[in-house]
Subunit: 331 residues, 2 copies
Amino acid sequence: MVGIKDVAKRAGVSIGTVSNVVNRPHVVAVATRNRVLSVIEELGYVRDESARQLRAGRSRIMGLLVLDLGNPFFVDVARGAEQAAHAEGLNVITANSSQRSDLEASYLAMFAEQRVRGVLLSPVATSGEALRAFRRSGTPYVFVDRKAPASEASSVAVDDIAGGGLAARHLLETGHRRIAFVNGPAILAQCRDREQGVRAALEGSGAELTVLEAIGLDVSSGRDAGARLLGTSPRPTAVFCANDLLALGVLQAMVGAGVRIPEEMAIVGYDDIEFAGAAAVPLTSVRQPAKRLGRTAAELLLAETADTTVEHQAVVFTPELVVRESTRVRR
Amino acid sequence: MVGIKDVAKRAGVSIGTVSNVVNRPHVVAVATRNRVLSVIEELGYVRDESARQLRAGRSRIMGLLVLDLGNPFFVDVARGAEQAAHAEGLNVITANSSQRSDLEASYLAMFAEQRVRGVLLSPVATSGEALRAFRRSGTPYVFVDRKAPASEASSVAVDDIAGGGLAARHLLETGHRRIAFVNGPAILAQCRDREQGVRAALEGSGAELTVLEAIGLDVSSGRDAGARLLGTSPRPTAVFCANDLLALGVLQAMVGAGVRIPEEMAIVGYDDIEFAGAAAVPLTSVRQPAKRLGRTAAELLLAETADTTVEHQAVVFTPELVVRESTRVRR
DNA sequence: GGATCTGGCTGAAACGTTTCACCGCGCGTG
DNA sequence: CACGCGCGGTGAAACGTTTCAGCCAGATCC
C-alpha cells in the first residue's frame, strides 16, 4: 500500500511537504505542489485515516446508534443527523442495535475504540452495563428520542406522554369507550411514556382500557397483537399502537379477519411514517419531527465537542395528531 | 485520555504485558492478569483502535454503501450483511448515498481512508470519477444488487430483466393490453434492466407500453407519476412500477382520485417490502431475496479478503412474483 | 553592504498500539 | 552439579501521519 513516503520519494521532496500539499496547499510553491499532486494521482495515494487520527487525537466521524433501522422513523432521524454533520464536514456512520442490548454494547464499544467525535444514541435502556462502560470512555454523546437529565448529557426527544394523551383524547372524542393500547417492550422509555399518557388522558373518562404488550415494535408483532385483539371479548372499538409498524400489523390482521376500519375498529398509530398514509386504510397517527430530531441532536453534539464549557440541554419537541381514515367518523 | 502506558505504570508492569492481557490473556500469569484487569477497570481504559489499526494495517470494519436507506429493501440487505459480518467478528458501518454521486464519492473516500476491510457497494453508476478513484485505492469491494464482470469484482445481484419480464407477463396474462411502466432514474442499471425485461416480454404481444420516468424511487415520486398517469388518455389499465415505494405512491394517487384498484387500474410493484402487503390494496410485487443478497455479498467479501487468490464471482438470484389484490381478477 | 525579513522546504519527534527478540529464574534431568 | 527448558515478563522498533523548530537563499530596507 502506497504511503506518504513513497509519494515524497518519487516527487523528490520531504514527507513534510507532501503533508502540506494535502492539508495546507497554499503554503507550498505552485510548481512543487503540482508535481506532488501529479505523483499522488499517479501512485493512487490515499492517506491513512488511522495514522492521521492517531496523531490528531480526534476523528472526523460521528456515530449514530438507533433502535431499529427497519423503522422509517429512525431513517429520517439519520437523514437529519447526516445533514447537520455534513454541514460541519463530518461523516456519520450508522449502526443498528435492533433493540438488542448485546449489539448495542458491541457498537458502543466500537465507537469508543474508534474515538469518534461523538455519538448520537437512542439506547435500549438508560441503565445497564454497556452504557455505563461507554460513559466511562469519555466519548461525548447526546440522547436522541430519549429524555435525560441535563446533569448527565444533552438529549433531544419528543414528549411521548403528550403524544399518548393526544391519541387517547382523540379516541375519546370520536366516541370510543372500550380502547386497547398495543404497546411495545416496556424496557423502552418511549413505550412506558406513551402508555402513561394514555392512562392519564383516560383517567376518569369512564373508558375501559386494555393493554397488550407486543413482542417487538415491528409489523409482524403487530399482526400477532391484532390476532390476540380479535380474540378478546367484549372486543374494543378502538386501538392505539405504540408505533406505526405495530398499527400496520394490527390493520392487516383486522382486514384479514374482515373487520371494517374504522366502523368496527378505529386505529391510531405513532410516528406518522410515510407508509401510514398509504396503508389499506390510511392511518391516523401521532407525528414526530424525526428529521428535526436528528438534526438538532447532531447540532447539540457538535456544539458540545467544539466547546466543552457548553452546558447540557434537554430539548423536547411536541408531537402532533394527524387524522386520517382509520379513525374518521363516517355517516 | 488514559492509554496503555497509564495502565502499565499503575499496575507496575510493562506496556507489553498490558497488551498481552488485552489480546492474549493466557500468556500472562493469573495474578498479574487480574491486577492489570482491575487497573483497566479502575482507570476506564479503552484501547485506541486507530493506533491498533495503524500497527495491524487492517481494520475490523466492513463498509456498506447503499442507494437509499429509506427503502426497506436496503435495510434488509444491511441486516443480511451484518449477520454474516458479525459471524466473523467484524462490525458493519452503513452509509447512505441517497442516490447522490457526491455523497457516494464522499463515503467511498471515507471508507478508503479508514482502510476498512472491504466495502459492499450498490453504486449509483458503475462508471464515474468517484468509483474510479475508489478502485485505485485498492480497497476490496463487492457489488450488491448490481451485476459486474467477474474480471473487475465479485457481485451479487438479482436478475432484473427476468423480474421485469415476470411482472409484464403477469399483466398480459391477466388480460391487460394498455400497460404503463413507471421507471426510476435511467442512470440506475436496475431500472434499465427492469425496463428491458418489460419490453422483451411485451414484444409481439400486441400490448401497448407507456413509459414514465419518475424523478426518484420514493413514495412522493410515485404520487407525481400517478398524477401524470391519470392525465394520459387513453388511460392504461395496468401499471408496473420499478419499486414498491413508487407503486405505493401511484396507489395513493389512484385511491385519491377514486380510481378502483384493480378493476380500473392494476398495479405491480417491485421488491416486495413488508409494507407492500399492508397497503391500501395489497400490492402484487416482484420479490427479491434482500437479506440473502446482503449475506452472500458479505461472505464473498470476507472470502476474498481472507485469501486474495480467490476468484471473483458473479452471483445472480432469481426473483419471484407475489400476487396480491392489486392485480387479482375479480368476478 | 550588512542586517532583517520571508517564502519554501526539511528533519525529527510524537501519537498509542502490537510484536518480537531477549532475559532471568526456577525446575527437572542426566 | 551443570545443563537446558519453559514460564513470565521487558524493552524497543515499527506502523503512517502531522506539526513544528529550524535552515537556506533571496528580497528588502536603511
